[in-house]
Amino acid sequence: MLRLDTQFDIHNLPCTRLFKVIAPSELIEKGTAVCAGDASLSDFALWLDEPESDYSKQLLALPVDCLLLPTSDTAIEGFDGTQLVNPNDSTIVQPGDVIVVSPGSRVVRVLYRRGSNSNLLFMTDRCNSLCLMCSQPPKDIDDLWHVEENLRLIDLMDPGEEQIGISGGEPTLYREGLLEIIAKAKQIIPEKPLHLLSNGRLQSDPTWIADLKAVAHPQLTWGIPLYADNADDHDHVVQAPGAFSETLHGLYNLARANQRIEIRVVLSKLTAPRLPELAHFIFRNMPFVQHIALMGIENMGLAKKHYDELWIDPLDYQNELNQAAYFLDVRGLPVSVYNLPLCVLEPSLYPFYRQSISDWKNLFIEACQDCAVVTQCAGFFKSHSSRWQSRGIHPITATELGTYARRAL
Amino acid sequence: MTWAGTIVLDESAYPLSVAQKAAYALSSILSILISRQGDALYLVVTPADLQNGASHLSEAQARVLITRSLNDFALRQQIQLETSGLRELLAGVALREAGV
């Protein structure tokens, strides 16, 4: 449950900067090769956890632009670059991470966390839909600067094969920037799979086909939400008339561009009743999709406002979930169930269950204390509240565990 | 035990094509001769020659069958009329020679 931001005392920061945090030993060993792309010493925030040592003092001569002193309350003399000292929580920022700092603020944000599988290129707060359950409502602002920041962030990431997300808002609103980012990712971090969340509406413009074919990222997957097999229901969930039609055209254009596609369905009172029919629609009309993710709802943002319209106890849609998942599975379309506590799941669904909520985002509640499968359970979102709690939540006993395990064979 | 019956149709309700299709569909059990007099179609119905001596339909059964078949084909024609052109268009779009 590690947060992605904390506060430091920040000294001598002239402008917004991204820094790659690096410990001296790693700097010796790898130099700038610690970054996947183009980097120089000035991009580093040198991690000095013993700033008073002679060795540290001699390192002050290095032409790095920033020092990060996790254990110190005060800045040290003899260094004229930026210094980050006195963290609120010294565990948040660690060597290898990429951080962003801005003048006039104590906040240090981790844009890239070493070793995490949930790093994200955040594209924009803008969106052209307004989904009833949106966990982070869009803002109508000009935030094109994210593009530049993400391009720089790609350079400073570690090389390696962990997945990188691209999200928003709606990332395709900044089409040129998005394509530039995908192209740069292909060049700098080709070994990292990209997972791009988009509502697919703008891709109804067929000129995307040639652009995406030209970029030809080898490991890009589009995560596209589809909430119904008909326009009325889908458009209502995303609060945008015409969205269903646009998304379908978008999905087809992505298929024409040979893109990998995942369909994402957030389970709510609006989507659960026709989930089997939606599965049918997906198989008959878009069997080219690689994966269908059926996901429990997160009680964040707009979802809270629309509680009455959205909330359904997951116990009450297990049958639909079961019908949909096996319908797709038999027909060769891979299915996953995300974001539900294991104890509310129909045991036959266990083969599709993924422990999905990222580690910094999930939690377990009191009822979980005696549960035998906490280590395999996605748990709850951090935002969990009793209002959104299934009546089926209970500790799973060792006997019950046997039932699940048999299904998992 | 054979019989012959006649069914008279108003051609505005059951066009010739509908009567012909019904006759075609039932031809393994019934033989239906169609003729036209004014606005009316005359369907002369007799049991078909059955090879294996299977029992013939009664005239009443045949009437039920023919009426249902006529109504079905009339409904089909209505569907076809409403969707005519679409089938051809779909085939044209779907089978476009994408570089074949």
Binding site: D38, A61, P103, E176, D329, L333, S336 | L16, G85
Partner: protein
């Protein structure tokens, strides 16, 4: 294959070819189509679905589906079974992503306007108003800068190993060279005062 045109024509004329029934549908066609934009976009290339149920052995589909009137091979049907009911074909290979990409709570840097920040020294260049889809070329660092960085890393490594107490300046001066030679001597390496591969390896300085 010009045959395709012929098939299209035939399928298109899916009006029953009953004797004497061939009524012209031309008029009705236009009536039905009027008012609806059914004209597909010319860029809309028709998609063809790949079979998701037997994608692995789709290759043999014709062998498997040979006319039943002659001997036909079932082998492709069976190619995923073992003879007596062992392993069946698995669903399409797919490793689900470990987790859905989470949404971070993220706001613009507070004290600078977006345009300021986009032209800040994040990458040292001002963003073009019409960005190209190509990636910006990698900055080519001058060779002497590369060398200087390497020397700094060597100086740091020598410092950690207590051979060097001078400044981390990226210059191969006498102090650095002397420290290198001392390290080489203690490590049983050829004593030449040079940053050769052997020496860098021994210092734990990786070169890309």
């Amino acid at each position: 294959m010009k045959l395709i045109s012929r098939w299209k024509l035939l399928i298109g004329q899916a009006v029953a070819m009953l004797p004497a029934v061939a009524t012209s549908m031309a008029h009705a066609n236009q009536a039905a189509l009027a008012g609806v934009d059914w004209t597909p976009q010319t860029t809309d290339e028709p998609l063809v679905f790949k079979n998701t149920l037997n994608s692995v052995d789709a290759v043999n589909i014709y062998a498997a589906h040979r006319s039943h009137s002659s001997h036909r091979s079932h082998s492709s049907h069976r190619s995923h079974y073992s003879g007596s009911g062992g392993g069946y074909s698995a669903p399409r290979a797919y490793t689900p992503p470990p987790a859905p990409t989470p949404r971070t709570t993220y706001n613009a840097p507070s004290s600078s306007t977006p345009s300021d920040s986009s032209s800040s020294n994040l990458s040292g260049s001002t963003r073009n108003s019409a960005p190209s889809t190509q990636t910006s070329p990698q900055r080519v660092r001058p060779a002497n800068e590369e060398l200087s960085l390497l020397i700094m890393r060597v100086q740091m490594a020598l410092m950690v190993k207590k051979y060097y107490t001078g400044s981390i300046d990226g210059l191969m001066g006498n102090g650095t060279r002397g420290a290198l030679m001392a390290f080489q001597m203690d490590s049983g390496l050829p004593v030449n005062g040079k940053m050769d591969t052997q020496t860098l390896n021994a210092l734990g300085v990786a070169i890309p």
